[in-house]
Amino acid sequence: NSGVVCLLRPLLLDVVPSIRQTTALALGRLADYDVELAETVVKAGILPQLICSLPEENRYYKKTAAFVLRAIAKHSPQLAQAIVQCGALEMLVICLEDFDPGVKEAASWAFGYIARHNPELSQAVVDAGAVPLLVLCIQEPEIALKRIAASTLSDISKHSPELAQTVVDAGAIAHLAQMIPNPDAKLKRQVLSALSQIAKHSVDLAELVVEAEIFPVVLTCLKDSDEYVKKNGATLIREIAKHTPELSQLIVNSGGVAAVVDCIGSCRGTVRLPGIMTLGYVAAHSENLSMAVIVSKGIPPLCVCLIEEHEDHIKAAAAWALGQIGRHTTEHARHVAVANVLPTLLDIFVDARSSEDLKTKATLKNILQKCTYLPALEPLLHEAPPSIMKHIIGQFSKVLPHDSKARRLFVTTGGLKKVQEIQAEPGSLLQEYINTINNCYPEEIVR
């Protein structure tokens, strides 16, 4: 900071190689620590000097140079752009072609940090020809190198479908899929995240990932002891399930839904979120799939999530998933209602929290419109706000004219009294429903 960088600069061109190396290491550590130091390093024009003699240097220097580049690139997109403009990418590619695994690891880490920021930088990394070399790195025996290469591929493919397609064309999917059964937890995290970033963009990519025969091996990842492995495994399944009903069908047939349900039951917190969304996506495609989710005992963990979790977005996701399950036919709505989850949903709705309302209104509406299970609807009658009341009364008015036992129950539980107390404008839908209900009973009782 206080002129340190200017002092270090001439040492980079020193004759003795170990001095050059140590200078580079010092610069790297400085840049790693602080953004401003990194900017100073870039402004002082050190990068061209660092990179110019790279091909002839020994492997320790290459490692430290790659470390410096990585330390600078990780702070912000502008610094990464500066690195790319210096022409550092070609040098890093030369480092990737080296034999020493440490050098390769440092180079791929630098590529990963550069590609992380935005699609243009990723495109620059791909244009430098790094992707085939990274795929080769994945096949190396060292675990650390595999980890870093997998995380770099994940960072490259997350931005856009074209980049993901480039990664796929280099033949990455087969190698990544082979590494899923590997016992190392951190490696599994990166591999699963890479595969999910590839699969999320389009149906074709998701189908390619599925063709690499990841099912049912991926399900063992959902039982791993590491939380993030479970989370990334669930994310991968979610990205595959969300595209088409056929893919969801595949997941159901291979027993994926049961594994996801168990996974949700065993985790706490944000780790559950992808699993919940998976169930929602699978159930959303068709009623058969939604029935399959119900049969795999999917509803109880979702209810538990709804009640236990404190985070808003997880609750919203659980409510959305329940809505997707319950909205297809009366059978589905009955299963959801039997699980005693409607009062909880109503409470959340009434509780006036900002983004949740939007989602639960649609959820509640969808479930209620199909629900004919009257014992579950009754407690809602007493507490609901008018917008929901409309739907509840509507359901009652559909069922009561036909079912005499239900009518008797309705009167004895005080539902009829409650209905009378509701004020509604004449001519509105609510009034019509109330009239229909009143018409089912003889006059004296209505009085």
């Binding site: 049912p216 063992t220 027993g255 839904v257």
Partner: protein, 342 residues
Amino acid sequence: RAIDEDRKTKYKAAVKIQRWFRACRVRAYLRHLSKMAILIQKWWRGYLRRKHFRKVVERAYFIKKQKFYNEMAVRIQKTWRGYYFRKYIHNFYALKKYLNAVSMNNELVRHELQEYAEMKENEEKMKDLEKKEKEKKYQARKMHYLLSTAQIPGIYNSPFRKSPDPMELLLQKSKPLTHRKQQVKSPFVDELYDWPTCKEPPAFVTSLPLLPADRQKPQGPFRDPAEVLQQRYKPLEPTLRVRESMYSPPAKDRESTRRKEWRNPIHDNEFLPFSSYHKNYEKYEPSLFKSGKYGQEAYGTKYFREVYPKKWIADKDFETLFSSIALFEKFGKTYSSTGQIV
């Protein structure tokens, strides 16, 4: 005047009568006319209505038939749609079976995953246990001096205990720990670490394995046991050719020359010096020229040239003046069974 009045009254009466009669006639005529008009209108209207009625009847019949056909068509479509939907689109029993299959599959998957998780846990536990055991054994080896002697009971062997502590037993079993020898770094280490496939430097024999100190020397003409052990457990010192990796440049060049050699030769079968080599490879198949009706012809095996003494210019047969190949001179003149001359 009375006749005048009479005449007038008669005239008036006659006029009255004529008038009345004419009126009657006219009335009858009008009545007739109206009756005729009514008749015509009646017939005309009847005709029109009948014509119309026929049309109406036809239309009604057509509509009736149409309704009937529609009814029947609806019936057919109803049964067909019910059948089709129940069989293909929303097959209840297939759905039920499918859901049952899904739940069974889920059970299986859950069971397997449970087993997998348990196996992993067991592995972890085993690893932990083994680590602890190793720790304990190492500690025991380090503290071997705490073993109880015949006179003095050791720490773990208190006289008030019924049986000695398990630590005591460990101590009895363990060997005393010697100091770790300084590892001599081989001078080739740095170069070798540069090779991508080489993980450890080749281990040259630096020290002999130790024999137990109290071993009694066996009697008899046995070799020095140290020598024997060295010979038996000598580590492999591969030649440079073997040690060099497959991917280094000299190996690749060798590969290319080998391939050239394989490509270039004219004959596929290499030259084998003795006929016994050929016996294993080539089985002699007699050609059709040489096999005759009653077995093999002797020509080609027993003798090689037809002999016509009458055609000879001189009396003698061909004579070899000198031998060009020494090996061929031995043909038939050695005591081996190959090469028997006729």
